[in-house]
Symmetry: C2
Subunit: 279 residues, 2 copies
């Protein structure tokens, strides 16, 4: 392994991985090196561009902390997140479609009872959300674990505020014995993803806006079913066709209807894929 | 741009870049997205593997600071650095070959006079280094700017020590009126790259050693010539054929000869490529 040139080096690196005990890791690394090298050769990457790339990745990593995940944001804006979701969720017709996870989920969310206000002080127009959790054959799923999270009217998730006393506009609920769920929260509004880091730099350099159409995040889990990670999008949003993270699916769009008292109502049912029926 | 699937998303992302004002940035982003998506599809990346990748890149960025560049180390160990060097340095026969830059260069190195000891207190066997800086036609290059840097006998560069009063085993020199250079330093020895971070984790998971064969780094610059970034490798080193960063070239291997007094001598000439003769 001396005197490697731009053509021979790829095979040399792949040979270096030949004793990797985990066959899946070996497969992934071999493919990664092949595509990474093909990319560099395709564009004939210069040494200056290489260093710019190193610095960009470094800055992306250093933007991350317990509440900010800039690499997920980058993956989202490069379409890698939605591609991964699409590849791994080939569910039968009738199941609720998944979309991107996003960078703002928190493992430690507060528990709520059905009917509670998960906004917990977040600013926004009052909204009531309700629906059913069902299996593919229509059977209600009682006691399903439901995580919800969303941005406030200013377009910020709670984790984007430095000094918040407690989580806001996120929480954990369980469906009732009939598979029903319902809670109070605030109206979902369109918002820009954080653009003060390397991802924002990329969006500006490519003349793209940083906006996501209004949506409410859901993660729904129940025994015997695949975990569903998705959003419900708000109909008529101006960014439905230019979502910066490519996450919109027509079946996930719903109408938040304004009520006589000025509050909003969203009704949406989730259909989970039984594990046995996995496509 | 709704309802994208694993096949249609790539073109959708590329279209998103279509208004990028800088045509080179657009070309690089388009190719990057194509190869990144092809990689994910090729291995059918799972959502768990995607998250592992996000966490790996994040940890790599967070390992970096003013003195540690884990992304360069990763690029080195994936062969991307050597590929980039090879692609961009198609010099005429007779020019000294380049190799990888490595993560341990410092912009701010101390200035030395010819004959000085650049070791500056670094531990190692005494060594004298000398040679000529020449142009491709053999003309000596006076006053060439020479950066040298190397690890000490314990395998560490100065930047790897937390509390060093001043730089060690690195410095800046200039060739004399006859194009000659000479300085004292310590003997180059094989050493392992830092393996306490994500790159070390990859090396262990792929059953690879972290060693580089003994070498001395040089960066040589002179007006009217391409900057040369290279190493001189020590002959007979056991890692010449398994350099963890794929950097060894036969023409860069030289004999560090032991002298009667137990010190070592390295003689090596550098031939720079005139800018006009660029291949």
């Amino acid at each position: 392994m001396r005197n490697l040139n731009q053509h021979t080096i790829t095979q040399a690196v792949i040979e270096r991985f030949s004793n990797t005990p985990d066959p899946r890791l070996k497969e992934i690394l071999n493919s990664l090196v092949k595509h990474l090298h093909d990319f560099a050769r395709d564009v004939k990457l210069t040494e200056e561009e290489w260093l710019n790339g190193i610095n960009y990745l470094t800055a992306t990593g250093q933007m991350c902390d317990a509440k900010r995940q800039e690499f997920i944001l980058l993956s989202d804006c490069l379409g890698l997140s939605m591609l991964t979701v699409a590849m791994n969720n080939d569910k039968p017709q009738g199941c609720t479609e998944p979309t991107v996870f996003g960078p703002f989920f928190l493992e430690e969310a507060p528990q709520f009872n059905l009917g509670d206000d998960v906004a917990n002080g977040a600013i926004g127009k009052p909204c009531f959300v309700k629906g059913n959790i069902k299996s593919l054959d229509g059977t209600p799923i009682p006691n399903a674990l439901i995580n919800v999270w969303q941005a406030d009217a200013d377009g910020n998730y709670d984790v984007q505020y430095a000094h918040l006393a407690h989580p806001q506009a996120r929480g954990i609920l369980h469906s009732d014995a009939q598979g029903k769920y319902y809670f109070k929260t605030i109206l979902a509004e369109a918002y820009p993803i954080p653009s003060d880091g390397p991802v924002g730099q990329m969006l500006r350099a490519t003349k793209n806006h940083p906006w996501r159409p209004a949506h409410l995040h859901f993660m729904v889990e129940a025994p015997g079913h695949e975990r569903l990670i998705t959003h419900v999008f708000r109909d008529h949003d101006q960014y439905l066709d230019s979502d910066v993270v490519f996450g919109v699916r027509s079946t996930l769009i719903a109408d938040w209807t304004e009520q006589d008292d000025g509050t909003y109502l969203l009704e949406y049912d989730f259909v989970l894929n039984p594990t046995a029926a996995k496509a």
